[in-house]
Symmetry: C3
């Protein structure tokens, strides 16, 4: 029942909406090593600006209604910042529920409890036992992070929960002991509680390159559990996965178009290990609530994965089952607007990354099958990290500092502000340059006059001096171009070298 607490929330918020801007003293202690988990919760002072917008005088009733509706949407969309602020003063148990829901949604880079709730609904639709395991995983991962005294801001954003839900879910999915085998909760809880440890360790490494840890802790821990026990374990047997040993029989006549079409939502569902297309559809809705850009890239990624599967002669069954889609979904979201500011170039890069991810997915699936393992989300992690490590001399592909990542729409705002700043700096430099040039021209004119006077007295060497001055002017203009480039490069270094300051 999301409506009940939402209305409460709104009433509360309307009451205190005027005082919000004064009470937002940022409590987020900004530890660099903790940032690169996935997305960050830090909210700078620009939020106050957003708050102030509705204060404008509302002239006619329609406009007022529109503003009201927009305001209502703003409470549920994005990262539900106002709700998160309100939550800070609630009981710890209520807070944990919020963190668990955000953790469930953070798998898709969505920091939104409502999306998390809808995702849990999708999981329940798929399988009760899996949903329970997922919940237990998220809960214990969050508790473990609290015990280990990790950064409270990161915990509140669900950044310690999303690996937990995946560990819980996928351990249940790949277990060969059948549903409701209660002993499974034991390794589930142990592995979930290991999540924050592995997350923290990986963040220490990845922070050096300002990279998030993505779902690497989940990949490591689920593979660890599966390969440690294996198919032939007495207590915790895993499903049997074996490498392909013969050419699959693929005839294009057998291609089932409706199933192929269905593979797009199924691919999104497979991010959580679900093969039910309705579950996938519910996940798409949950993404749309928080961020339409994310939603579009998710669908795009799943489609790219399907096409790549067809191009690489994959068995149709795998494609229908969404196995070619889920990694591309995540990779396409991560590159397309989440960690890079969305431009056309970045959009294309996201599609290329999705193709590369599909290729890598096939490769990793074949390698892992040798050990009886599924490919998990390794392909997504490796391809997204590769594409985030690219350095280029163009500003059109701008990687956001991980500490500033929120959701694609807001990231764009951050990027546009930065662009304005760059432009102003550029113009400022131009003006200064022109001023200097004018001055030097005046200087030259004066010099010329002096020369002329001297010439009257006698001597010809002075002309060369003037020429030299001209040359320096030209090189000044050339420097102007490189200075712009310098501004860009210093911005880059500020970001990448932030961890040394």
């Amino acid at each position: 029942m999301p409506e009940s607490y939402c209305t409460e929330d709104i009433q509360k918020l309307i009451n205190c909406s005027t005082s919000v801007s004064s009470t937002t003293t940022s409590p987020a202690t900004n530890f660099l090593e903790l940032q690169p988990l996935m997305t960050e919760t830090e909210h700078d002072s620009k939020h106050d600006g957003e708050e102030k917008e509705p204060k404008q005088p509302q002239n006619n009733p329609l406009q007022g209604m529109m503003t009201c509706a927009l305001k209502l949407v703003s409470y549920f969309s994005g990262d539900m910042y106002i709700f998160a602020k309100w939550m800070e003063n609630q009981f710890l148990l209520v807070q944990i529920i919020d963190w668990v829901l955000r953790g469930a949604a953070q798998v898709m880079f969505v920091n939104n409890p409502l999306s998390g709730l809808i995702i849990f609904a999708g999981l329940i639709l798929q399988n009760y036992w899996w949903a329970l395991n997922g919940f237990v995983g998220t809960l214990f991962a969050t508790i473990s992070a609290l015990i280990l005294q990790q950064n409270r801001g990161a915990i509140a954003a669900g950044l310690y929960g999303y690996n937990g839900i995946l560990v819980g879910l996928l351990m249940a999915v790949f277990s060969n002991a059948g549903d409701w085998y209660w002993w499974l909760l034991l390794p589930n809880i142990f592995m979930s509680m290991m999540c924050p440890i592995v997350s923290s360790a990986l963040a220490s490494i990845n922070s050096r390159w300002d990279l998030p840890v993505f779902t690497l802790p989940f990949n490591i821990l689920v593979c660890l559990h599966m390969v440690a026990t294996g198919h032939f374990n007495l207590y915790f047997p895993q499903v049997l996965i074996q490498p392909r040993t013969e050419t699959p029989n693929i005839t294009w006549d057998e291609l089932d178009l409706p199933k192929l079409f269905m593979s797009v939502p199924v691919g999104i569902g497979q991010v959580y290990g679900c093969d039910n297309p309705w579950t996938g559809g519910i996940f798409i809705i949950s993404l749309f609530i928080s961020s339409p850009i994310t939603c579009v890239h998710a669908v795009l990624g799943s489609t790219v994965g399907m096409v790549a599967g067809l191009a690489l002669a994959a068995p149709f069954g795998d494609i229908y089952f969404g196995l070619w889609g889920y990694n591309c979904v995540l990779a396409c979201i991560a590159i397309g607007g989440m960690f890079y500011a969305l431009t056309w170039q970045v959009h294309l890069l996201a599609i290329v990354c999705a193709f590369f991810c599909a290729y890598l997915g096939s490769a990793i699936a074949n390698v892992m099958a040798t050990f009886g393992l599924p490919s998990c989300t390794w392909p997504f992690c490796l391809s997204a990290l590769t594409f985030l490590l690219i350095t280029t001399e163009t500003r059109k592909i701008f990687k956001l500092p991980v500490a500033k990542v929120t959701y694609p729409e807001k990231n764009l705002g951050f990027f546009w502000n930065l662009k304005k700043q760059w432009k102003m700096e550029k113009e400022k430099t131009k003006d200064e340059q022109e001023a200097i040039q004018e001055e030097s021209i005046l200087d030259e004119k004066e010099k010329l006059r002096l020369e002329e006077r001297r010439m009257e007295e006698g001597g010809g060497e002075s002309v060369t001096i003037v020429n030299e001055n001209d040359e320096t002017n030209v090189s000044d203009q050339e420097q102007q171009g490189t200075e712009e480039q310098n501004v860009r490069s210093t911005n880059v270094t500020e970001i990448t070298h932030a961890d040394y300051v």
Copy 2:
């Protein structure tokens, strides 16, 4: 004959004991890239303090005897610092013997030649040929480090020898050519001599995170040799290791309790590839001589490994053979007091790490078996490195800078000194804060007086000014708390960012 040189040593030391404190000019050139091999040899001025203790007037003969006994113990326990100092002026060949013995003990993080000697005795008890290979490995690794002009302090601490002894031993253990196959010494010498190269290379990487290299060079080189030759090699065949392909038959009735109990010392023996429980027992003694904390954690680690083996339905044979123990032994020692300062929280962390290591051990053993490889000490290395990379906001889990690591007891001393320092700084800040508060209160009182005077003249705005002052006082007190946190965090950054200074 360890007695002979020990007595000599003591006589010499008693003679020069008064002059020790004046001659300790630290020659250890402190190269950052070289430090993170395992534990460090650097000794700060606190040693002089230890020397000065026996100088107290001895009132009664019993107290005198006690002091004398403690003094005698101090010569053999810990890292035998005084002996190491005395060794510095001996012949190179005698020094190399010391380095080889220290190298043999450094596998267990023990920088003590006496422990090394006892360990060699244990190895001889197990198998002459293996002991010979181990000795050759340590010797050539140390010689190679000398040729490559590595840091003399690190060589003297045996930090270039411990990988050598493991390479030598395990190449003999896993060789399928039988004992006394003399040709084996050729790859043994080559691989041992590669140890310092791989150590140095890994230290360059790990030093960026202030991490030691542990036994990674050994793991890399032994796996390299085994997989390069393999079971079907004509010259250097390896034992056949194959992945499990059926469910093992485990019935709890067949559990042999005495054998299970014996698996604890066997697990410690398996660190050196030995399955003789007496050898394991001898190793426990050698650990106790140097550091009781290390010894306790070794036994604890082996027990945790055994329990984990039972929990994960491992074949009993593997558990009896100590295969579940040796990685946990090393992981538990490393976390429990060696690289973290021992507190209750760290003690629990060490046990969790041992459990994680056991899980990882099973996983890696299954993966490596696919290539016909044993799991070596990969599980220990990976789990310990993961746990050393954790960052947390509590001070109770304090990672020592690798350059300051010696042995658990001394590490504790270092930590307590640091804690005192923090406390003093905290109190200092408190006092300063109080002084500032008092001042501001005085200021306020004066202002109030001024206000009163003005009030007499007329005006009421001044009251708000005083209120503002009160508010700043409150926020000052709040800041006090965060300042303490800052002190902590700066300490952390000093350590982790030490390599950039």
Copy 3:
């Protein structure tokens, strides 16, 4: 037709040779993240010095001819710097041809279009289809780097092309679909275009340790393609590679000495996947043109690989086929003069590295065969990176900063200049030290005189003061030695920590 443009080039160059020194305004924007691809193109002002040499008065005709011949050689040898300068002002299409040729040669660390042309000739001799695929790969990798706006200097040096040629060639070599299967060009183009992305990402990581990326992008991408499709793929089947399962039948009587001798050039040919000894011979010539030191180390590396193969009981067929040679060729070139300044110690290190590489080659081949993969050049990459990460306290093993790497002969020049500088600094410090000593001696003499005067009055403590002074002098002399060491260590830190400044 290399002659045609070469003569043009020379005429052009002779005409403008006098103005070269004035026009060399370095356009290379020096982005640190982009440098560590392989070798660098940056040219410091020393080149102007080289230009000035021919200006010396030519006394007799023979000397003149010699100078002329040397000048001509200097146009074709090394990195053909003058030609590259001249190319900068040509059409983009002509430039791309230059970049593609340099890219083809950069596989062997040779930045020389003439060598590249000869290498393409060798490839055509081997197989038309492979040569075409190699060309397509280089071309599209270069184009992709241009689209991604990578550093123009690095592109012009062929640093974005060499992975492309290997990807193209080896995808054709390992394809099981037979020659002239045109569909193969599709994944070929996709993978080639991924090269700059993976290169850029890896450079971001390796730059932290000032390491080049070598052929890692090629290894990653070819393995990715091969394992993603596999032997049983319908569209892009790969050759079947399986792990060894029985002891090979090796009898020394069957050893074919001529074939063994031939395996040396074949090993060099296998760098490009070619088993034709004539092709290998042509490659040796192409290396000799650019750099004789590189050529010698290539032959040496191939020989070491052959010997290692015999020592490790490899099947003779593999040795004849050059599979033991090509990694050692690359490793020996990289260590022997390319990234380390060539001294006798480095020469020995290069041979040790080649042996290690051969060992590693066998290990990796066995591991990769489990996944149906060839070992590619992983062994070279891993062994060379390991040997480049070594830190040592001797100056004889001097790793050049990657930004300063050109070709062995020029690297030596850079190193000798640095050595001269060190010597001067050393002497300067010595002189200063002596001056200080003399001063202190004078001081002492004066003090002695003062003492004598006091002694006349009465007192004996003054003698000890003089002694103390003597002691400080001795310790000053000792410090002198450590200061020299400091000079060295600061040089090292300047290089390794360059990325933080």
